[in-house]
Amino acid sequence: MAAVGKTHATRWGVLNVVVVLYALFPVWWIAALSFKDPSTLTDGDYIPREWTWENYRGIFDTSEFTRALVNSIGIALISTVIAVALGTMAAYAVARLRFPGKKVLIGMSLLIAMFPPISLVSPLFNIERIIGIFDTWIGLIIPYMTFSLPLAIYTLSAFFREIPWDLEKAAKVDGATPAQAFRMVIVPLAAPGVFTTAILVFIFCWNDFLFAISLTSTEAARTVPAAIAFFTGSSQFQQPTGSIAAAAVVITIPIILFVLFFQRRIVAGLTSGAVKG
């Protein structure tokens, strides 16, 4: 690297800074907004003149937000667990077994990955009202896990193809029963892929807005993105900008944590699943 000229390094440095600014600035802006006092809210500054927790206190005082937060976490977690469980089974079959219909399964996942959610909103809205799961956790979990299944199957089968399955043989010769070989060798090797997939699926469910506003009508199941959107309408004259900003920051925290700690895995998961399919 010593040979790398100074101009070269400077150029990459500038490019890197531009990329980082591009990616983070809007996030920084809304975070700054969330720490502003209502009186300075409109100053347009990038750094709050006076830092305040007022907005956060405000949203955590209302059940509108706290309830939505609980809904968001619960619904996203349950959907993730189910989607990853079903996805793991299917991906194992896709990566390791020969059976007719594999192509159909893969094609079907692809179709669903491309499916416009709005097309499902009207029938699901009606069906869920009829069978009584409208505005419940289940009512959201069902579409979430369905739409994240293709993602789970793709990512997991890409990961599973990478596992050196020879090790299973080695374990058997080393004296393991099939169950032991699975538990002591295959599970530890598959776990990182499953975990990465879980993160991606969680982000996907956490992110949804369309189903959240269409299939809920009260606090019972409304998730944070939907709840935030309803903050706005509360008053014509006093914009709840501060509250929205604070709520936005709160639901961004898990994303930031994932990205900070699992950057490598997320990149690997997204790239392997997408191209090798």
Binding site: V20, T146, V224, V259, Q263, A274
Partner: protein, 316 residues
């Protein structure tokens, strides 16, 4: 390992894969493997079918009804008249062209930006982790959150970006400026995803091939266009297909930024409004089905145009 029963959940015999290609369709081992394969896929398939195929069928059925939620008793079969109503309405066509415009423009910008971003992520000589981490933030962030950030940035008397404009300008309240801002928000949020898909393609370009091109006298631009792009073609097409379909479904950003006012609504916004504002299930369902058909046409066109390089064909 015919000698021992496989415990449930345990993997099949290790030789299954290797000897698989020797297997005749009806041997006992192949039958067992096939059954296990079906068994493992069944839950996922059932869920996907139940939650998409059945409802879309139901949507087709609903779209043939006059079905206003305010007057549910008056529901009746009306044939294709809902489609007639939609397809002759200027709302549909406005929304359709707006959606198409946003899709084409944002995907085009994303491809260029995403390629640049991918190159930076791939080749930068330091801070690689930092760059990748920060690029993941727009990908991961909740769209609604990002949309609010942009909305506030462009709101007069509130946002830093609005301050850059002549005072009194409210760009989100005019159709064209609003459309561009919607595209900006969309591009910001989804370029990283495009870049990551392209990054996967970049990783497939062997370093030695690039070196060979360099020795052969190719300029950087020639190396990019003559070596990298052709080798990345499958990744580029996958990225384009996914992003095009995704952009066509645009909803969250518009909902937050303009709510579809000033003719900035996409087809998804139109469908949503018909369902939840007009409470017209029949018309709403017809729009749903039409959107489904549009997406189908886009996907079909991609696969036809690019054939073997389409993701469906890539899958073994």
């Amino acid at each position: 390992m015919s000698t021992q029963a496989e415990p449930a959940g345990a993997p099949p015999p290790a030789e299954a894969e290797r000897t698989g290609r020797h297997r005749a369709p009806l041997s006992a081992g192949a039958r067992q493997e096939r059954r296990l394969g079906w068994l493992l896929c069944a839950p996922a398939v059932i869920v996907m079918l139940a939650v998409t195929a059945y409802p879309i069928g139901y949507a087709v059925y609903l779209s043939l009804q006059r079905y206003d939620l305010r007057f549910p008793a008056q529901a009746e079969f009306v044939g294709l008249s809902n489609y007639g109503a939609v397809l002759t309405s200027e709302f549909w066509w406005d929304a359709f062209w707006v959606t198409l415009f946003i899709t084409v423009v944002s995907v085009a910008i994303e491809l260029v930006l995403g390629m640049g971003l991918a190159l930076v992520m791939h080749r930068t000589i330091f801070w690689r982790g930092t760059v990748r981490t920060s690029v993941l933030v727009p990908y991961g962030i909740v769209t609604v959150v990002a949309a609010f950030s942009w909305q506030y940035a462009w709101t007069p008397d509130l946002g830093y970006l609005a301050e850059l404009l002549p005072s009194g300008d409210a760009p989100l309240t005019e159709m064209w400026s609003a459309l561009w801002l919607i595209i900006l928000a969309e591009v910001w949020k989804t370029t990283p995803f495009m870049a990551l898909l392209l990054l996967a393609g970049l990783a497939l370009v062997p370093e030695e091939t690039l070196k060979a091109a360099m020795v052969d006298g190719a300029t950087p631009w020639q190396r990019f266009t003559k070596v990298m792009v052709p080798l990345m073609k499958p990744a580029i097409l996958v990225a384009l297909l996914f992003r095009t379909l995704d952009a066509f479904r645009i909803f969250d950003n518009i909902y937050v930024l303009t709510g579809g006012a000033q003719n900035t609504g996409s087809v998804s916004i139109l469908g949503y409004d018909n369902l939840f504002t007009a409470l017209n299930l029949g018309i709403g369902s017809a729009i749903s089905v039409l959107i489904f058909i549009c997406v189908g046409i886009i996907a079909f066109t991609f696969v036809k145009l690019f054939g073997a390089a389409a993701p469906g064909a890539e899958v073994k």
